[in-house]
C-alpha cells in the first residue's frame, strides 16, 4: 500500500501566556496512514482529537515530532514546511472537512462549491456544472443553488460546506465531525462520497461523535485517551 502519512513522535501543547502555564494536548503520537485507508480518532472529550487534526493541517503548530506527508512532489514534513508549501498542498492535496461553512457575502452556493475546482484550474462552466451535481447529491434544493448561503439554515449551510469540501479529490482528507446534526439522507450522501474517494485512494483521518455513522468506512482506530492502548486494527471491516 502506498504510504501517505507517517507521523512520528508528535506532541502539541498550548502556551497560555496570560496564565503563565502550558497545557499539554497530546504527546508522542506515532502512526502511519496509507492510500485508501480510513483512520478513526477516538478518545474522551479533551483527549486532543480535534487538536491532532488541526496540527496535521498546520492550523496548529506542533511542539515536536514529524508529520511526513508523501505528497505528489515528494516527502514533506508538515510540522516544519514553509507556509507557502503548506498553502500549495492545501489547495491541491490536503483537505479539511468541518461541519461549518465559511460563507462569503455575495458569493452564491454554486460558486462557493465550484471554487476549489476553479482554483485548481478547471474552467468556470465545467466547475459550476460539477458544483451543481454535488449540491444535488447532498440534497440542497435547486432553488438555492444560485442564492447566497449566508442566509441559509444551519443544515443547508452544512450541505453546501460538504459539497465544497469534497468536490476536489485529495490525497489526504481530515474530517472533523462532519456528520454532526446532518439529516439522514445527507449523511448517506456523505458516506457514499467518502467511500468513493476512499476507493480512489484518498487517505482519511477523522473524528466522529457517533462513529456508527461511518462504521462501514473504518479500517483502524487510535485512542488518544492517555494510557489507552495506542492502536487497534480492525480486521473485520473491509470496504
Amino acid at each position: 500500500m502506498t504510504l501517505i502519512l507517517d507521523v512520528k513522535g508528535l506532541s502539541k501543547g498550548f502556551e497560555m501566556h496570560h496564565l503563565g502555564t502550558r497545557m499539554a494536548a497530546f504527546s508522542d503520537i506515532s502512526f502511519t496512514l496509507s492510500a485508501g485507508e480510513f483512520l478513526l480518532l477516538k478518545g474522551r472529550n479533551g483527549a486532543g482529537k480535534s487538536t491532532l487534526l488541526r496540527t496535521l493541517y498546520r492550523s496548529y503548530l506542533a511542539a515536536s515530532g514529524q508529520i511526513l506527508f508523501h505528497s505528489s512532489h515528494g516527502v514533506v514534513d508538515l510540522a516544519r514546511a514553509a507556509d507557502v508549501d503548506v498553502t500549495l498542498l492545501r489547495r491541491t492535496e490536503i483537505g479539511f472537512v468541518t461541519q461549518f461553512l465559511t460563507a462569503r457575502p455575495r458569493v452564491s452556493a454554486e460558486a462557493l462549491v465550484a471554487e476549489p475546482l476553479r482554483l485548481a484550474g478547471t474552467p468556470e462552466e465545467e466547475a459550476l456544472e460539477e458544483a451543481r451535481h454535488w449540491l444535488s447529491a447532498f440534497g440542497v434544493k435547486r432553488a438555492l443553488w444560485a442564492a447566497y448561503p449566508t442566509t441559509f439554515s444551519g443544515g443547508e449551510q452544512q450541505k453546501v460546506n460538504l459539497a465544497r469540501a469534497l468536490i476536489l479529490p485529495q490525497r489526504l482528507l481530515m474530517l472533523d465531525e462532519p456528520t454532526a446534526s446532518l439529516d439522514a439522507s445527507a449523511r448517506a450522501a456523505l458516506i457514499d462520497r467518502l467511500a468513493e474517494l476512499k476507493r480512489a485512494g484518498t487517505a482519511m483521518i477523522g473524528v466522529f461523535h457517533h462513529p456508527g455513522d461511518v462504521e462501514v468506512l473504518i479500517d483502524r482506530e487510535i485512542d488518544l485517551t492517555p494510557d489507552a492502548p495506542k492502536q487497534e486494527t480492525r480486521e473485520d471491516v473491509a470496504v
Binding site: 488541526r54 492550523s59 515536536s64 514546511a81
Partner: protein, 265 residues
C-alpha cells in the same frame, strides 16, 4: 520551544517582494526595527498590529513614500533595481506608477476629490505615458468596472460619492495599470459593515481572478483573516510573529498575539 521552519521546497518560484531588515527612526522614536518580509506571486500578506505598531510606516516604505534608515527592498520583476530604496525620486515615482498600486484608508490621500472619478483613474495612465484620449477613457472604464464601480457615475467627482464608492475609485486607480503589487492600508476602516463586506468581496474576487500579489494592513482581524494567506503581527516597530493566517489566529504563539486575538474575537 517551537520548531524551526524550513525554506520552501515545493514552491520553486522566487518571492515577488523581498524586504530585509528595514529600520526607520523618527527622532528618538524607532518606528521600524529590522522588519523583513517576503511575499510570493499571487500571495496575500496581512499585517496586523495596534496603532503605532509601525505597520503603516512599513507599507509606506513598500510604496517608496518613505525611505528607511536601513534595509533593502526588491521586486522580482524585469529591469528592477536590486534595492528600490536606492532609487532617485524620479525613478521611484515611475516604478510606483507602473508596478505598485495603493489604496489608502483616507481617500484624500489617493484621489483628487474634485476631479471626475474617471479622470482620477486616467491620471495613473497619463503618468505611465498614455496620451490617447479614447484609450485613457476605455482603460479607466474597465478598471472602474473591475472594481465594481457603477459606470453611470464614472464622471462624478469623489467628493460627491459615498465612502465605499470612493474606495472603489481608489482601487480602480490602483489596478488600472495591472500592477505587480497591490498595497492596501486599512481599505475598509471607517466604512459601515455592509459596505465593508462588499469592498472585501471585490478585493477577494480581484485577487482570485487576477492573482494579484497583495500586502494589506489593518487593525481589523476579521478583514485580515478574510483576505490573507499569511499574517505578520507587528508591535512597537518589530515583527513578533508570522505564519499562515489560520494558524496565527487559532494558535497564536507570542504573548502579544494571544492578547490581540483574545481581545478581538
Amino acid at each position: 520551544m517551537s520548531l524551526t521552519m524550513e525554506p520552501p521546497r515545493l514552491v520553486t518560484t522566487r518571492p515577488l517582494l523581498t524586504a530585509r531588515n528595514v529600520s526607520k527612526c523618527y527622532g528618538s522614536v524607532q518606528a521600524l526595527r529590522d522588519v523583513s518580509a517576503t511575499v510570493y506571486p499571487g500571495e496575500v500578506l496581512g499585517i496586523v498590529g495596534e496603532s503605532g505598531s509601525g505597520k503603516s510606516t512599513f507599507l509606506r516604505c513598500l510604496n517608496l513614500e518613505e525611505v528607511p534608515d536601513e534595509g533593502s527592498y526588491t521586486l522580482d520583476l524585469p529591469d528592477v533595481a536590486d534595492n528600490l530604496f536606492d532609487l532617485d525620486r524620479y525613478a521611484r515615482r515611475m516604478l510606483c506608477a507602473t508596478k505598485i498600486g495603493i489604496v489608502y484608508q483616507n481617500p484624500h490621500l489617493g484621489l483628487l476629490m474634485n476631479h471626475s472619478s474617471s479622470g482620477n483613474v486616467a491620471e495613473r495612465l497619463l503618468v505611465a505615458g498614455e496620451r490617447r484620449f479614447s484609450v485613457l477613457r476605455d482603460k479607466a472604464r474597465r478598471a472602474l468596472d473591475a472594481s465594481e464601480f457603477p459606470l453611470d457615475r464614472m464622471d462624478a467627482p469623489p467628493v460627491e460619492l459615498s465612502g465605499g464608492m470612493q474606495q472603489r475609485v481608489q482601487l480602480a486607480k490602483a489596478i488600472a495599470l495591472e500592477p505587480a503589487l497591490l498595497l492596501l492600508d486599512e481599505p475598509t476602516t471607517g466604512l459601515d459593515v455592509s459596505v465593508q463586506a462588499l469592498v472585501l468581496d471585490t478585493l477577494k474576487r480581484l485577487q482570485q481572478e487576477r492573482r494579484i500579489t497583495m500586502v494589506i494592513v489593518s487593525h481589523d482581524l476579521g478583514v485580515i483573516r478574510t483576505l490573507s494567506d499569511r499574517v505578520m503581527v507587528m508591535r512597537r516597530g518589530q515583527v513578533v510573529e508570522a505564519g499562515l493566517a489560520d494558524q496565527v489566529f487559532q494558535d497564536p504563539q507570542h504573548a502579544y498575539t494571544q492578547q490581540l486575538v483574545h481581545a478581538k474575537l
